[in-house]
């Protein structure tokens, strides 16, 4: 019976082919580490955000007079509304944690390199969409930080040449952040996740064309590729369990870690909070913005700091496979960059003082410096490594007769 139904479907829709091609026959390197779990986790978080978000939207009022109250209505009166809201607000932060780890893994293992450039660039688009969504979502509770964060960030578009002021008004729908801004942010906050879902499909199509990279950086022989299902479905499920444990720890016991106290005060256009900070996941970019004394320069630097990842396939000129584990110089740069991001994050969270500004400028300099030096460092590193013969572990991989990377 099942077979007859399946064959009926298969004559009309490639269901069996699809399952085979993408799951049960899809070859995946058997040496993937747990760092490769984060792509699946990002998709999982997206689904959770969609599910909680749709139910939140049933109780939320996108109206500047009612938004703040409707959040409290959700928190107090709606059955398990507090759970929906804490899942969603914690989920936003979790999304960035997962995506940032996913990106760090790509950088460390050089997964952005040929032939995975388009995969990396679709990921970059996903990052931009995620940033836009979370920025717009943060306005919806209509607290002080929501309001002033949106006011500060939309105001940056003043830097647009010639039509800056008009662009700001166009974005806000009003001269200041107001009801028009709130309603359009809500509409877009509801729309964008579906665009993300579409972009995720494109990301996956690209992935299944070039297939997963692996810690060795060399395409493995056929015998070392194993089917995605059941090996990686179960591995992803196990990773999801670990993720959920940490996630629920925050949701049930520390849900206010990611909610600024000032955002529990209703938005007040007449009163600027003493210290406006964006959410933690924007802090490094915010620090770069503040490190440049000129508005246009700051905005350009901030935009570049996000977009520069797209240039990685061109910047990294080394042909040595294997990611940072076989490349001492690249590895040093990777760790320097990670530490630098944490320093920038700290700087972004602090009020402006002379020392903080100085620290921010040094960190900004290092941020762009690591990118700009990469073409030279990677070239020199390759020359030195070729002159001295490859590291034994890498040589061993070649000796085993694996195809690919020369």
């Amino acid at each position: 019976m099942v077979n007859r139904v399946l064959s009926w479907v298969d004559q009309r829709f490639p269901l069996t082919f699809f399952i085979k091609h993408e799951l049960t026959d899809y070859p995946t390197p058997r040496n993937l580490s747990y760092w490769w779990n984060f792509g699946f986790l990002a998709g999982f978080v997206l689904v959770l955000q969609l599910a909680t978000g749709i139910f939140l939207a049933m109780h939320y009022k996108a109206d500047s007079g009612m938004a703040f109250d409707s959040i409290q209505h959700i928190m107090r009166d709606v059955n398990y509304g507090w759970l929906l809201r804490y899942l969603h607000s914690t989920g936003a932060s979790a999304f960035f944690v997962v995506v940032y780890v996913h990106m760090a893994r790509t950088l460390y293992y050089g997964s952005y390199r040929a032939p995975r450039e388009l995969l990396w660039w679709t990921g970059q688009v996903l990052l931009l969409l995620l940033m836009a969504i979370s920025f717009m979502g943060y306005l919806l509770p209509w607290g002080q930080m929501s309001y002033w964060g949106a006011a500060v960030i939309t105001n940056l578009f003043r830097a647009t040449p010639y039509i800056g002021d008009q662009v700001v008004i166009w974005l806000r729908g009003d001269y200041g952040v107001g009801d028009a801004t709130l309603t359009r942010f809500f509409a877009l906050h509801y729309l964008f996740p579906f665009i993300i879902a579409g972009a995720v499909v494109i990301h996956l199509v690209a992935l299944h064309t070039v297939r997963s990279s692996n810690p060795s950086g060399i395409n493995l022989a056929d015998k070392d590729n194993i089917p995605f299902h059941p090996y990686f479905t179960i591995k992803d499920m196990y990773g999801m369990g670990v993720y959920l444990f940490i996630f629920f720890l925050f949701v049930f016991f520390f849900p206010n870690t990611f909610i600024e106290p000032a955002n529990n005060v209703p938005a007040n256009p007449m009163q600027t909070p003493p210290h406006i900070v964006p959410e933690w996941y924007f802090l490094p970019f915010y620090a770069i913005l503040r490190s440049v004394p000129d508005l246009v320069g700051g905005v350009v630097a901030m935009g570049l700091s996000v977009m520069i990842f797209a240039a990685m396939p061109f910047m990294d000129r080394s042909k040595i496979p294997g990611g940072a584990n076989y490349r001492p110089w690249y590895r040093a740069m990777f760790y320097l960059f990670i530490v630098d991001i944490f320093v920038l994050g700290y700087v972004g969270s602090q009020p402006v003082t002379d020392n903080i500004v100085l620290l921010g400028r040094i960190a900004t300099f290092i941020y762009f410096g690591t990118f700009l030096l990469l073409p030279f460092v990677s070239k020199i590193e390759e020359k030195r490594m070729r002159a001295r013969a490859l590291p034994p572990a890498l040589q061993a991989l070649f000796d085993k007769g694996v195809e690919g990377g020369k």
Partner: protein, 222 residues
Amino acid sequence: MKKFLTGLPMALLACAALSAQATEAKLEQVELANDLPTLERGAETVATVCTGCHGLKYIKFRDLLNLGIDKDKVEAWRNGQPLDNTLQAQMPEDAARAAFNGAAPPDLSLMAAAREGGGNYLYSYLTGYHKSEKGELTNSVFPGTQMPDVLAGADAADEKQRADVEAKAKEVSSFLVWAADPHAQERKRMGYYVLVYVAFMTVLLYLWKKRIWREIDKRPKI
């Protein structure tokens, strides 16, 4: 990557320590109880004293009953108002503004969530009144505050009076912490079950993963 894993928590701890220093240096750290008698005493002070000037627009009388507060007390506080009315300030906002140099007394429902330090902030603020060297009343947490020293901590004559003020401040803070997030206790109770369930499920998934990967794991490492 391993070095990074060990370094990351250290860096986070350092950041946390720095930010804690900056914001909570002068707040007193207190244990706030959340048992019913404490919350009831706190509610009594809030409903009979604080609501003279402050409202709690998200707390209905019904919420107090649901919390388990004595019915007769709630009856007395609501004084014939419907159960679904919220706790409102008795002083009209304009009159309050006029009385307190233009500062309207803020709503208290979310006060514990709206200040860095939460309950510690409220307690430190309520007990923070003292006479400056010039003899003026001031508050160590919020120097320019327009609120009078309602609990009269600055006038406490001896240890016993001081202890009374501190006890009252604790009760009020406890109640306001509850008011800011009334489902907090339910949330934590549920959280234990959820974590135990997820931990158990994760162990099973790990064993299942081991089993499925048994043959693969025997192969030499790449």
